[in-house]
């Protein structure tokens, strides 16, 4: 690293540390003032002329509005970005079962790179920890996971020409549904043992049977100008016709973006004869944890076993990076907003020097002046923050697609919904309060130092 880079790092690092220290100090002071305000509310301390400050916000409404709008923008964007990340977090959290053990090939970080074809692993079927259904059949799912490239029939000009579809080949779909606790919507059925059927109305043409996640059914429906594909609808993939036999009740999980079909058929079609994943249901989370550890340590041939929820938790690595990026962008924008509110408050104080002088002569002390102007900036921030929260809430339920990955290459595309919850809204409000605090305290300190007689001269 050359000298210039070192100088830059020290300069920016130094400025950052200095700013962080000042901001921390201001925040502490702000908290103290908030405590004082609470004591005033209970009548334990003398109140400040807050009504005067509120009226001033109304009188100077264009400036108030502009400053609040800047806050609105920052907070609403923060909420949209957090709703995106939250939607992905909730998706991965809802995808795994704590009592399930997911077995991949040794060293594989994701299903897409796992291949269990390096030895005989059928012994897993007899593993004592595997729970059994009411008929005494082991609750175990043998799966092959593939990502298939599908050219889009009629691409929009300038739009995407193809998409990647996630296909899961299964031995016994009903059993897999039970292991993953996913059922079908009424009117649908699991694919048959044969896995193929004649297309209705075209008796001589065979199609591969599939069940679709709700999200992917909607995506594929767009190609046929329908809101979603339904049972008996046919679509094309890899030069074959595929017919829908059922729609999974998979909303809110990664299975929402998947196509399930007969393992032998997809394995042969795409040249992947071995399994990529085995999912075993155990009796409870503790047994699952113990079983995963035992399998990873002792099973031959070597495999990588983990509790299913932990596997999906690891797929959040990319999501975490999105989260950090969102926080960095929001912080930069917030600093811009802080400078905006500082401008407004400094201007307000310089215009109201005489008012401050009168208040001091009326008997209000320095700290009461400090607090009243500080509360004015907080009120301004709250107004902008509340508007930002209201605007950001509009993003709740927006459908989006993204990628989740453990950050080791690979990754899977998922369809999910942006989720604005109470925690995010509270976070947005706190964020705006912090902005108001940092931006308002310095001007309020300058108001405190106004000398009454000089200001009235």
């Amino acid at each position: 690293m050359d000298i210039l880079a070192k100088i830059l790092i020290y300069l920016v690092g130094g400025a950052f540390v200095l700013f962080a220290a000042v901001a921390a100090l201001i925040l502490v002071l702000g908290l103290l003032l908030a405590l004082v305000f609470i004591l005033q509310l209970f009548g334990l301390l003398r109140r400040v002329p807050f009504n005067y400050n509120l009226r001033n916000l109304f009188v100077r409404w264009p400036t108030t509005l502009l400053t609040a709008l800047a806050f609105t923008m920052v907070v609403s964007l923060l909420i949209v970005m957090l709703a995106f990340v939250n939607g992905l977090f909730v998706l991965t959290r809802s995808s795994g079962q704590p009592a399930n053990v997911l077995v991949l090939s040794e060293g594989a970080t994701e299903e897409s790179v796992s291949s269990l074809g390096f030895g005989d692993i059928t012994a897993l079927n007899q593993h004592p920890a595997v729970a059994k259904d009411e008929n005494g059949k082991p609750l175990i799912s043998w799966e092959v996971y593939l990502v298939v490239n599908q050219p889009i029939d009629r691409p929009k000009p300038g739009g995407q020409k193809r998409r990647f579809l996630q296909v899961r080949g299964l031995m016994e779909p009903e059993q897999t549904g039970r292991v993953h606790r996913i059922g079908l919507y009424p009117g649908g059925s699991w694919f048959t043992q044969a896995g193929v059927q004649a297309i209705p109305g075209k008796a001589d043409e065979q199609a591969i049977q599939v069940v679709l996640g709700e999200g992917i059914a909607r995506t594929l429906g767009q190609d046929k100008d329908k809101p979603s594909l339904q049972v008996d609808d046919v679509f094309q993939m890899a030069e074959r016709s595929w017919i829908v036999t059922g729609i999974l009740q998979s909303s809110g999980s990664t299975f929402d973006s998947e196509i399930w079909a007969k393992q032998q058929i997809v394995g042969e079609k795409f040249g992947k004869a071995s399994y990529s994943t085995v999912v075993m249901r155990t009796t409870d989370a503790q047994t699952a944890k113990q079983t995963a550890e035992d399998l990873s340590a002792t099973f031959k041939p070597a495999v990588a076993a983990q509790v299913e929820t932990e596997y999906y938790e690891r797929l959040n690595t990319t999501n975490l990076q999105f989260f950090y990026a969102a926080v960095v962008v929001a912080s930069f924008m917030a600093l811009g907003g802080v400078f905006g509110i500082m401008n407004t408050m400094f201007a307000a104080i310089s215009q109201r020097q005489k008012d401050i002088g009168v208040l001091r002569i009326l008997g209000y002390s320095r700290w009461q002046i400090l607090e009243s102007f500080f509360l004015e900036s907080i009120a301004l921030a709250l107004l902008g923050g509340a508007m930002g929260c209201a605007l950001g809430m509009a993003a709740n339920g927006w459908s989006a697609s993204s990628i989740i990955s453990s950050g080791q290459g690979g990754g899977r595309s998922v369809v999910f919904k942006l989720l604005v919850d109470g925690k995010i809204l509270l976070g947005g409000l706190i964020f705006s309060l912090v902005m108001g605090n940092i931006g308002g305290l310095l001007p309020a300190l300058s108001a405190m130092r106004v000398r009454p007689l000089e200001s009235l001269r």
């Binding site: 970005m81 995106f84 990502v147 990647f164 400078f339 989006a400």
Partner: protein, 453 residues
Amino acid sequence: MFESTLRSLDERIMAFLDSPWNVVLAALGLFALVLLYAWAPYVRLVVKSMRRNPLRTLLTGSATFLLVMVITMIWSVLWLLDLVTAERSRDFKAIVTERWQIPSQMPFSYERILEDGGATRRGDVKPQNVMSWQFYGGTLDPKKSRENLVFFFALDPAKVLTMMDEFRDLNEDEHLEMQKMVRAVQEDKRRIVLGRDCLKRINKRVGERISLFSINYQGIDLDDCEIIGTLPEGRLTLFGLMHRDRLNNALDAYERKNGSPHPLAKKSLNLVWLQIPDTETYGKLAEQIANSPSFADPAVKVETASSGISSFLDAYRDMLWGVRWLLVPAILATLSMVIATAISISVRERRIEMAVLKVLGFGPTRILFMVLAEAAFIGLVSGALSAGGAYLYINKAMGGLRLPIAFFPPFRIPLEALWWGPTLGILTALVGSIFPAWSARSVRVSQVFSKLA
């Protein structure tokens, strides 16, 4: 001495004049200087106005600085993505991958046939150059812990400097260093080169030897890999490069030892790059390959590099849309509002001054332009400082922005950002100050003085 200085100066001037853009820019600069001279009294007035409340100027400038910096960073990422997904018409690459499945896994024998572009008849076209890519992931410990995972591209070293865009714009020293490393890997296939971040992550140094325990080729562990160097700054920082023969020889050895080929022996080729001179050749080549019976199991597809990258980026489509059409406009709007607040306060405080200026003979339009110029000046200076600062800090100190977007290396701020910053600063300042400036223009002298009286 004097003569050589003159000659060098002359050469520089001639080189400068080679580009018509330089001439246009120089002319514009000259024109701006003339204008500045002609309007010097107004410029002085604008600067004085800004100096009257240095705190407000500083705060507005700081807000502009920060917000322009965020936009510069975001645009740099979008700009690079647009650049790599834009179709070229000449000297581009085609990518051959498995037709239906991701990740693509083809037999290595395809590479030999693709060298001829699948040509079978007279008049068939051939690519100018070919490069095969094989992916190998291995950990440093036999327990295969994720923290020790290194992802390698197994390549023909001879093609690294001729085919890979990453190494096109190396400076002389870096180029020589890369050439040295390529020769070393050719001489001894056990040698490997790692990206800087990768080396840091696994806590190893150049000169050390490591063993790799494969995660994607079970049983293909590679011993005694000597780290002979690091890739130049900013290039493939998270990955490593190895000789493709090292992997292929290990696959052959597996068959000799076990009596049967490795399960992935016929799936070891992940993608092939073909260098193509123009779109016409690309069309012919794509047709030849698509129709060739040699590529039946598995079938392959040919696409331009830009199209292939576009497909991978498709997973980020919604996020990039949001960044492009929600985030950036919202930041611009925030910036405009911050500037609008500052300028409107400033105008409100100076209504008497505006009235006096009118009395002195300044027309409304001139007052409007003075207010606009004040905002534009703050935007220009802050924008230029911001873009310049981002360029220096992110490129020089941080080595680029590390974002989890596909296999992209850290995103660097392009030279173009140096004009984005000032332009953005000026434009948002103008948008933000137009209403306050209009209100300054409309100040009524009689009203202001009657209030004073």
